[in-house]
Subunit: 344 residues, 2 copies
């Protein structure tokens, strides 16, 4: 289950298609993304050398910069001609990076899991502080947009993200978590930043009005939900190795994600005991991950999680219907497919 060296023709086709969608988007915003990258480097700098060193560890780790890309693409969609999107895209990436750094901070009991997050190299304290530094720099960049509406959106986003993360912590290892609560968590911790990344482009492109802002917000939100659903499915997907990532991280942490929520609800008493032991009590043995994968497959919950993602993806696409056709719109529609099809 965990390794599969046979690559079928279909896999190749899908791989090509997904690469095309993200590459198309990357090429659409290439010039502006260069300015964003310059701004990132400039604004994460500090005479205190540890700050750019630690921040750079994550920022230069080769992420796709999906969130700032959404701000840039949304600005293109509205044919915005100013320069404010550069600083805002940088702010969005900083908020995201700060969140990741703070996610890395762990408790004593969880310190060893074979990964090398920032906190294992520089310690919890430095990791928290550099996250705070990036948060503060994000706010400075937002202030430079000279738009109180942008500041309202992004400061509220930031509060909702942390609320979502605390909620996630509260329901950690709790198998009675409902799909509704799960949706609330992923909306708050992931989708609202996607939504804000798009919406702020509407705000700075003033002449398009509230309808455009709301459409972009909805697009970002549904895309973000789809993105996180697929992310949670991928953690139980054997082909994840092709993305250079391990599978089963969520299982080992006892994280409550939709594949498990559905399997627990659909399972027999015996199966529920298995989930209680492994996810709730975190008493895991060799072979447990494999058994979990069998149960998820048997109840079809990985596929159903991707089906749910497809539903939100369709809503994201429909939200863009009010905009006339353009290269930017094409790219934004393509990114929805990309986010879902990376599951295969």
């Amino acid at each position: 289950m965990a390794s599969n060296n046979v690559v079928s023709l279909e896999d190749h086709q899908n791989a090509d298609k997904t690469i095309t969608a993200i590459e198309k988007m990357q090429s659409l915003v290439a010039d502006q993304m260069q300015l964003v990258n310059d701004t990132i480097l400039k604004r994460m700098d500090s005479p205190v050398a540890l700050i750019p060193e630690l921040a750079g560890h994550l920022i230069n780790s080769g992420g796709k910069r999906l969130r700032p890309m959404l701000t840039l693409a949304s600005s293109k969609l509205l044919a915005y001609e100013g320069k404010k999107q550069i600083g805002l895209a940088t702010a969005v990436e900083f908020i995201h990076t700060a969140t990741l750094l703070h996610d890395d901070v762990v408790d004593e009991s969880k310190l060893r899991r074979g990964k090398k997050p920032a906190n294992l190299i520089w310690g919890n304290q430095a990791t928290v502080l550099v996250g705070d530094f990036l948060f503060s720099r994000a706010f400075e960049l937002m202030v430079e947009s000279d738009s109180l509406r942008v500041l309202q959106i992004l400061s509220n986003t930031s509060a909702v993200i942390t609320e979502g993360e605390v909620l996630q912590l509260t329901v950690a290892n709790d198998l009675s978590t409902t799909e509704e609560t799960y949706l609330q968590v992923i909306t708050a911790k992931t989708a609202v930043l996607f939504a804000a990344a798009c919406e702020v482009a509407g705000v700075i492109s003033e002449e398009h009005g509230e309808e455009a802002e709301k459409a972009l917000e909805a697009y970002g939100k549904y895309l973000g939900i789809a993105f996180q659903l697929v992310d949670d499915a991928l953690d139980y997907n054997a082909k994840r190795a092709t993305l250079g990532k391990e599978i089963g991280d969520d299982f080992r942490e006892g994280k409550i994600t939709l594949p498990v929520i559905l399997a627990y609800r659909r399972g027999s008493d015996e199966e529920r005991e298995f989930w209680k032991r492994t996810i709730q009590k975190l008493k895991q043995e060799d072979g447990d991950l494999e058994h979990a994968l069998e149960l998820l497959t048997q109840h079809g919950t990985i596929n159903d999680t991707i089906e749910r993602a497809r539903h939100y993806g369709a809503m994201a696409k429909d939200a863009l219907a009010i905009f006339k056709d353009s290269e930017a719109k094409d790219c934004m529609l393509g990114i929805v497919d990309f986010c879902i099809e990376r599951a295969y």
Copy 2:
């Protein structure tokens, strides 16, 4: 050295004097502080119960709310008649509380020290996230002030604070730290928030102009430096027990503060070896704290630290010279003395 049950007449007099200055200030801003307290409770609330629970642990722990008090008193000094100072005072307190929560996050090696900070009750992760939540709420409150200048000041303040905290981490246990670097650390981590707390009152009280803003900023900054110097002196002060606090925390952590910086520079080779063992290598034995106190006393470095504080206190007072006499000005001058005289 550590306990002194004999209370002299002079102690009584000083105690009365300090109580008077802070009480005078408290009574000056009592009505508005009630509104700030209401706003704190309202804005730290969340449907995610862990958030108000954890935030309340610190916020309700009986601090003097010195920073928001400065915002309120500065507004009174300028005879400001609006309501914006309430939200800003709350934002300042939230930034301070978030900083304290993030300071509580420690690394594995430092987890046990007999204290009960938030992270020992709720864990590092929750503590970091609730700190982030308060930061975000602070920014929301700032945005409501409708003043981009206020946002500039406070977002920059927030970046400088974290820069100062990282710098402090970088020089931790490093006895070659100069007094200049130490001043840089305490200015950034403590004084800029005092400065911003006062300065924003000048910004919202628009008609007073830049001169008033700069005077308030200078007052806050010098007061903050004096406050932190005294705080660092108090950690080696036997009478600290009267404030309900332990002494020697900084020593046990190997924190580099002015009393130690000066004693190391003034000490003999043998004394320097003692400091290297205890502060740099953190190899501490019974009796080391007592010996450290002897060395600090012998070289007069606790008193000299308080003398330095007195110098900055004088500068803080002079910064207020441009304002005409008033009850608010009296209180703000009195608070400088309070911050310094709590050392005795």
